[in-house]
């Protein structure tokens, strides 16, 4: 599928900090997230992965520094989509959840049914279209959340540990959807604490410790010859605090 140029990319963090109660959650991060293979954000719990993604989405504003999308910092999030670790489904059917997202993305009413059908096929939920979304299993809800994000036809798809509470089978189908999305040209940025997932999906890796950027490298470089002791310990599976 041919896509329009990715207007929201690159996402550039220019010395960005976010403080809560004086404590830095994200600490002076400068980084450029460019088009290409998925970027995985890794690090121990509390490293600031979720907050980095929220800054990427524009859900929170930095305390200091500047985030820009395609060179501009006042871009509304119409070309971006976010999948939360525990997505919240509207109290409607699976299909209606997708129709809602399409409506918010400005898709004309008469085009929505066909798009809903296609999105449900894309995530393998066609049979569950008329089920109440909140009655779906965790894995099904996560796939529906992905379809809802893809309904926005995003340049940038942000995923906050989408497989953290899923079993291996559900994790595999979520990863398959993410991989397909990335291959269609969508820039995927995904938080994870699972090194196996990094091996399976990552083009490059952002490694955070206590809110600070420790490493930003191609996935094979990060996994095979990390340049900081913390990253080396993390890749070995040691505890990093």
């Amino acid at each position: 599928m041919m896509r329009a140029p990715l207007a929201d990319l690159p996402v550039v963090f220019d010395n960005v900090s976010l403080r809560a109660g004086g404590r830095p959650i994200v600490d002076r991060v400068s980084i450029s997230i460019d088009p290409g293979a998925p970027t995985l954000v890794v690090g121990p719990n509390g490293a600031g992965k979720s907050t980095l993604l929220r800054l990427c989405m524009g859900l929170v504003a930095p305390s200091e520094g500047r985030v820009s999308w395609g060179g501009r910092s006042d871009v509304k999030p119409t070309r971006r989509a976010f999948v939360f670790q525990r997505p919240v489904m509207l109290r409607r059917t699976a299909a209606a959840n997708l129709a809602y997202s399409l409506a918010q993305a400005g898709v004309a009413r008469e085009q929505r049914p066909a798009r809903v059908k296609k999105l449900l096929e894309q995530v393998g939920l066609s049979e569950l279209a008329d089920r109440p979304a909140r009655r779906l299993s965790g894995g099904e809800q996560q796939r529906l959340a992905l379809a809802r994000a893809l309904a926005r036809d995003p340049d940038l798809l942000l995923l906050d540990e989408p497989t953290a509470s899923l079993d291996p089978a559900a994790t595999r189908s979520v990863e398959e959807i993410v991989r397909t999305a990335a291959q269609s040209g969508i820039k995927v940025v995904m938080a994870s604490h699972d090194l196996g997932q990094v091996r399976r999906l990552a083009g490059n890796v952002i490694f955070l410790v206590r809110g600070a950027l420790r490493e930003h490298a191609a996935a094979d470089v990060f996994l095979n010859s990390p340049s900081t002791p913390e990253a080396a310990a993390f890749v070995r599976g040691d505890l990093v605090v």
Binding site: P87, V88, L90, Y100, Q104, P132, R134
Partner: protein, 230 residues
């Protein structure tokens, strides 16, 4: 026992006077719920979604007003609508319209306070997702009202129950005029004081049966809707 039998006979024979009284009661209380919903639901939504100085006070006052004494509301509406009052020129004191106004004022706080709580809880849950979908203010209110519809139905029922059961406000502003502003509750009060217990008891049974039926209908709607959309 004798009284109970007479009450059932009145109901069974479809007494015309009884029917007119029941009909007026339903029209007044359901109209009051409709009017109060138009004011109370948006008011609850605004209080749930906005932050302004004095909001805490507004919420406390609203919650306290859930227990407004009907006679006091009746008196206030009476003073407003009486010929020398500020709205006296409308000439609607001692009419069903005045009764609707009094009952609506009585239940706006109930509907607004309950919907404020419901919508605020739902907003906490939906906030991240709706923000990520870039939903505007009007869209948020519409989404929350729609998705909270089952809980809001309970708020409307609470309002209806209060309106249908109260006697003080409609007595004062309606005047309990035979064939014109006489409702089930005012008739029960009147007939009891006159010693006509069969009619009073019959009406009491009808009133309770109606409230149960309306709640059963709402419960079925809710159960059906939950199966449809969770």
């Amino acid at each position: 026992m004798q009284n109970g039998l007479n009450a059932w006979q009145l109901i069974a024979t479809g007494d015309a006077t009884l029917f007119a009284i029941v009909r007026l009661s339903l029209i007044v209380s359901l109209s009051a719920v409709a009017v109060a919903a138009l004011v109370g639901l948006p008011l609850g939504a605004v209080l749930a979604l906005t932050r302004f100085p004095g909001r805490g006070v507004a919420v406390v006052v609203l919650n306290a007003f859930m227990g407004l004494p009907p006679v006091v509301v009746g008196l206030a509406v009476y003073l407003l609508l009486s010929r020398s009052g500020p709205l006296g020129s409308f000439g609607i004191l001692f009419t069903p319209q005045a009764m609707v106004i009094a009952q609506a004022i009585l239940i706006v706080p109930i509907i607004a306070a309950l919907s404020r709580q419901t919508i605020e809880d739902l907003w906490l849950e939906y906030r991240d997702e709706l923000t990520a979908m870039d939903v505007g203010a009007a869209g948020r209110v519409a989404t929350l009202l729609w998705d909270a519809r089952l809980s809001l139905l309970t708020a409307l029922l609470a309002g209806f129950g209060r309106a249908a059961a109260e006697v003080g406000a409609v007595m004062i502003v309606g005047g309990n005029i035979d064939g014109f502003t006489r409702t089930m509750t005012t008739t029960i009060a009147l007939e009891t004081s006159k010693g006509n217990l069969p009619l009073a008891l019959g009406l009491g049974l009808v009133l309770i049966a109606l409230v149960v039926m309306i709640n059963a209908a709402a419960w079925s709607l809710r159960a059906w809707s939950e199966r449809q959309a969770g």
